[in-house]
């Protein structure tokens, strides 16, 4: 190889690598800008909610959002927990809405945990690859049903069937809504459970079988304990989805703004309240700002739930990798 040739090659390869480098850098910046934009967006939503809630606290007072103290005819004071921003004496207790949200979300989470984990175990540990290939898309379809359709079905058919069978005090109630919520939460918990179980290294199954354990003993004593953090994350994320869901609760829960702990009564959730009232409220009224307080409570609580789930998952991945 003569000197000229060498020069040519070195120049040429330098040009190529420079071009490649620029391309890689551009790609890197593209993704960085995207993620920064996402963070910026979330942050501005939060600041916006915070600002509007601040206005609400300023104009209405923080105490009002817990409950309202009124004096009874007997002369004693009593706190009532109601959400009635449009009444003459407006009431802004978020407590009743918070309890409403929990009254639908907690049973839905319980149901989804039970069935979702069972389905996840089936998918990961028991199903043949054929039946898994069929079952997985079916489950994903369930997760993708528009929630308004589920709400409608619960309202039209679910309520009638449930009413005829159990005669609850209210035709539309929290229980009905939580059944509807389960339809979307079960697939979420199921696929997250499957993912968690599949991330358990196969060597652990082998160890268990080689010690004489059968399939159930292996699932119960080895696989589930190894995936416990993944399972908790699945349940938390399912819960987050149930708390954040709007349409199903709006349609199936009866929408009564009374504080109740009875699951067979009508109630109202935080999400349904925002959805139902935001369209009609007059701009920058007290009611308008109060809705933002609900929004902030929702935003913060789902954010924290997701954060906890993410932390747990991270920890699990690290633990299983070592």
């Amino acid at each position: 190889m003569n000197v000229k040739e060498e020069e040519f090659i070195s120049q040429y390869s330098a040009a190529v690598s420079k071009k490649k480098l620029i391309k890689e850098k551009l790609i890197k910046y593209f993704f960085m800008i995207n993620s920064l934009a996402a963070i910026f967006l979330i942050l501005s939503i939060f600041i916006f909610l915070l600002y509007e809630s601040y206005r609400a606290f300023e104009q209405i007072g923080i105490g009002e959002f817990i409950g309202k103290e009124i004096s009874t005819p007997g002369g004693t004071a009593k706190t009532i927990y109601q959400w009635y921003p449009t009444s003459e004496e407006p009431r802004y207790s978020i407590i009743s809405l918070l309890v409403g949200s929990l009254l639908t979300a907690l049973p839905a989470t319980l149901i989804s945990a039970l069935f979702g984990i069972a389905v996840g175990i089936y998918l990961s540990e028991i199903a043949s690859s054929r039946s898994r290939e069929i079952l997985k898309p079916v489950i994903e379809i369930f997760a993708g049903i528009p929630t308004v359709v589920i709400g409608f079905i619960m309202l039209a058919i679910g309520a009638t069937v449930f009413n005829d069978l159990f005669h609850p005090p209210n035709r539309l109630n929290a229980f009905l809504a939580s059944i509807g919520l389960s339809i979307i939460c079960i697939p979420i918990v199921a696929s997250l459970t499957e993912e968690a179980l599949r991330s358990v290294p196969n060597e652990l199954r082998m160890a268990s079988y080689s010690l004489g354990a059968n399939k159930w003993q292996t699932i119960k004593n080895v696989i589930l304990p190894a995936a416990i953090s993944g399972l908790s994350a699945a349940i938390i994320l399912g819960f987050g989805r149930a708390v954040g869901e709007t349409m199903i609760v709006l349609m199936a829960s009866g929408n009564a703004a009374e504080l109740t702990f009875n699951i067979f009564r009508s109630m109202r959730s935080m999400t349904a309240t925002i959805a139902a009232e935001m369209g009609e409220v007059s701009f920058e009224s007290n009611h308008y700002y109060a809705l933002f307080v609900i929004g902030m409570v929702l935003f913060v609580s789902t954010f924290i739930l997701n954060l906890i789930a993410e932390l747990i998952l991270n920890k699990m991945r690290k633990k299983l990798r070592s």
Binding site: E203, L204, M206, A207, Y209, S210, L211, G212, P225
Partner: protein, 252 residues
């Protein structure tokens, strides 16, 4: 005096349409260490997993021929796989301790098989850990997560765990491949100790290791048993040209 512990007659193993072992007949002796050597993919792991029926878990597994342990064909329908696996312990290439405490790892099998008395379990834990030469390192750390221990320690805890079912036979699939020389030496010493009580079958890719630890060596190639003899003979004066080429490192 040597006593035949495992007798394999005309064994062929298939995974779907792949044939992993082809008409293998071999007798493995009690209280001896037998090395299984051969190039990658020649069926060493398949052979080990046939002896404790772990292959049953593999998709598309099928076999013809017989595997007799103490004269009993372990593929007879009336054989209880749980009892078989209590008779035949297995050590894997990479330690696969459960992400639980050391104690829970060692108590796993005894509790599984119905031992409830805490004292009895503690005795088993101590005895097997002593046997596996790891007791001194774990005795003050029994409640610590097993994955906190070094790779070599973990592998010896695995051996202890395999001993908790009180097996007669230990199958080891490249037990020291993932370890540093010092840890490897400890495992080799341990194998030497354990053969007094157990029948040991070790798969290894390390010729020096096979020569050091085993009494008998079987050389496999493409699913066939090419040569099986005393280790000294396999490494000094093999009958087969392929064996000679392999143990001297000319191919593999």
């Amino acid at each position: 005096m040597k006593e035949v512990k495992i007798k394999i007659n005309n064994l062929s193993v298939y995974f779907n349409y792949i044939q992993a072992l082809n008409d293998v007949s071999i007798e493995l002796y009690a209280n001896r260490v037998t090395s299984i050597i051969g190039p990658s993919g020649c069926g060493k792991t398949s052979l080990l997993r046939t002896i404790n029926r772990m292959n049953d878990l593999m998709h598309g597994f099928r076999l013809t021929g017989e595997v007799l342990i103490d004269g009993v064909n372990i593929y007879e329908p009336e054989i209880d796989v749980v009892n078989l696996r209590k008779l035949v312990g297995m050590i894997f290439q990479k330690s696969n301790l459960f992400p639980k405490s050391v104690y829970e790892n060692l108590a796993f099998a005894p509790m599984l098989h119905g031992i409830k008395d805490k004292k009895e379990i503690e005795e088993i834990v101590e005895r097997t850990a002593i046997q596996a030469g790891v007791w001194n390192e774990i005795k003050d750390r029994l409640n610590e997560n097993a994955l906190n221990f070094s790779a070599g320690q973990q592998q010896r805890i695995c051996i202890a765990r395999a001993l908790t079912v009180e097996p007669d036979i230990l199958l080891m699939d490249e037990p020291a491949t993932a370890l540093d020389p010092v840890s490897t030496a400890r495992i080799e010493e341990l194998i030497f100790e354990l053969k007094r009580k157990y029948t040991i079958v070790v798969v290894t890719h390390n010729m020096q290791q096979a020569a050091r630890i085993s009494d008998y060596t079987a050389f496999f190639y493409l699913g066939h048993l090419v040569e099986y003899d005393k280790t000294t003979r396999i490494f000094t004066n093999p009958a087969n040209k392929q064996t000679e080429d392999y143990v001297t490192g000319r191919f593999g």
